[in-house]
Amino acid sequence: MFRNQYDTDVTTWSPAGRLFQVEYAMEAVKQGSAAIGLRSKTHVVLACVNKSNSELSSHQRKIFKVDDHIGVAIAGLTADGRVLSRYMRSECINYGYTYESPLPVGRLVVQLADKAQVCTQRSWKRPYGVGLLVAGLDESGAHLYYNCPSGNYFEYQAFAIGSRSQAAKTYLERKFENFTGSSRDELIKDALFAIRETLQGEKLTSTVCTVAVVGVGEAFNILDQATVQALINEFEISGEEGPTNESVAEEAGGESGGAATEEGGAATEQETAPMDI
């Protein structure tokens, strides 16, 4: 692909109207380990694959509690994710202090997106290399958003990001229509199934994944390992064979694959700039 001439600077357009630095940033998201999110009317579940570098080291933190009613799962440059989580926490706290009220998820997401956009229009900055799945609850219900390094954001019923997320998306596409009415436990079960898809036959245990829930009457919390393992055993999925997935590490272009969307977000082809969505 002849895109090397116009990809040095984020402030340089290509003749085809693309900002390659931003697209490269979105590649970074695809390299990170998988994170998935799904929501029902009353709950939102986030789950991610958490593999440590070696047996000696601890796992990377990929899920962050932002406030009692909001949590985020990241994929990509975890350092960028940590910094953005801190920003989100700060915004939530400030809003709560001034208004004694939880920050509406939609507003936080827009603020995050605007912050990401700034980095696509400054010559001395680089885009954030992290995709965020923002799960939250507010007056208007349960929400799941995806924030992109490009500064775009979308609302989803269910979504998956990171490496081998296509497998999870395929699973979610089959099941998403039922999610609205799902109970909390059914939702978690589906999340674990989706995670299992991304593992490509590897055994699903609570040491490789993290699950977090937020819902009506339940503050955002990360389930502890024992609970997750119990759920895995209960659902008897650790021993089952997962459906084989042909495309192993290939992602067919960023947001393509048509994860269920509430508004907009049409499926794109490989070469179309993802920012066009």
Binding site: S101, P104, G106, R107
Partner: protein, 275 residues
């Protein structure tokens, strides 16, 4: 509550709080000219003090109660200039956004300033254009932060505010004072209303008052204030806010009764009187 009664008196001598102690941090350097907006930041205490010392044009009590469908609030339309009742058509009850109603007593110019801040707040809230909106609880807390912040700078907005509203079926009624004291209750009042109206409300307020009952109760309180508060005027508005919206009544007057026996021949039996 000592502060409250001062503002309704409209005292000029010394102001309510007696600001003899200045900020302990910077010793003011007195110059001939009053330095105004040219200085800012750390040097702003130098020169004549720019902080609010005492109110000039003031409104008296505001009363608010919760009733079956929402909130009822009453305030008269007087603006006193010290002991003179200078203005008699001051609207002290105003709408804030979709869900809230604000009533203010104290310095009228500060109330107008507060309305300006709230206008901007609501504007930005609407500009998000995302279906979310600030409810009465949020506006109340915003006001609290604003009042307390000014108090910490020794430059208060000289008002006592009553904020009421309904959002998603939840009724909210709160109060904020000029020093940032804030709370919620089923009935609130400012100034003399605290001393003359609230005792009545404590006895007679109940859950789920009808609109007529609520208005009757408020009028009883306002009549009491009219008799006993020297800065009260007999021209009032009652505002109602429900889930459906806000209405502020046209100004009207209360009937008063002065035919008490003691008023007929007030000097009977007194030394030097004719009878």
């Amino acid at each position: 509550m000592v502060v409250e009664s001062h503002e309704t008196d409209g005292e000029f001598a010394g102001g309510g709080l007696g600001h003899t102690s200045r900020s302990p941090i910077v010793t003011p350097v007195f110059t001939d000219m009053v330095s105004s907006q040219t200085e800012s930041g750390l040097l702003s205490s130098e020169g004549e003090s720019q902080r609010t010392q005492y109110p000039y044009v003031t409104g008296t009590s505001v009363i608010g109660i919760k009733y079956k469908d929402g909130i009822l609030m009453a305030a008269d339309m007087g603006g006193s200039y010290g002991s003179t009742i200078r203005y008699k058509s001051v609207e002290r009850l105003k709408q804030v956004g979709k869900h809230s109603l604000l009533g203010a007593s104290g310095e009228i110019s500060d109330f107008q300033e507060i309305l300006r801040y709230l206008d901007e707040l609501i504007l930005h809230d609407n500009m998000w254009d995302d279906g979310n909106s600030l409810g009465p609880k949020e506006v109340h807390n915003y006001l609290t932060r604003m009042m307390y912040n000014r108090r910490n700078k020794f430059d208060p907005l000289w008002n006592s505010l009553v904020l009421g509203g309904v959002k998603n079926g939840h009724k909210y009624l709160g109060s904020v004072s000029m020093i940032g004291v804030h709370f919620e209750d089923n009935h609130v009042a400012t100034g003399f209303g605290n001393h003359l109206a609230r005792p009545i409300l404590r006895e007679e307020w109940k859950e789920d008052l009808s609109f007529e009952e609520g208005v009757k109760l408020l009028e009883k309180c306002m009549r009491n204030l009219l008799y006993r508060d020297r800065s009260a005027v007999n021209k009032l508005q009652i505002a109602k806010i429900t889930e459906d919206g806000l209405t502020i009544s046209q100004p009207y007057s209360l009937k008063t009764f002065w035919n008490f026996g003691a008023f007929q021949n007030p000097t009977v039996g007194a030394e030097g009187s004719c009878c």
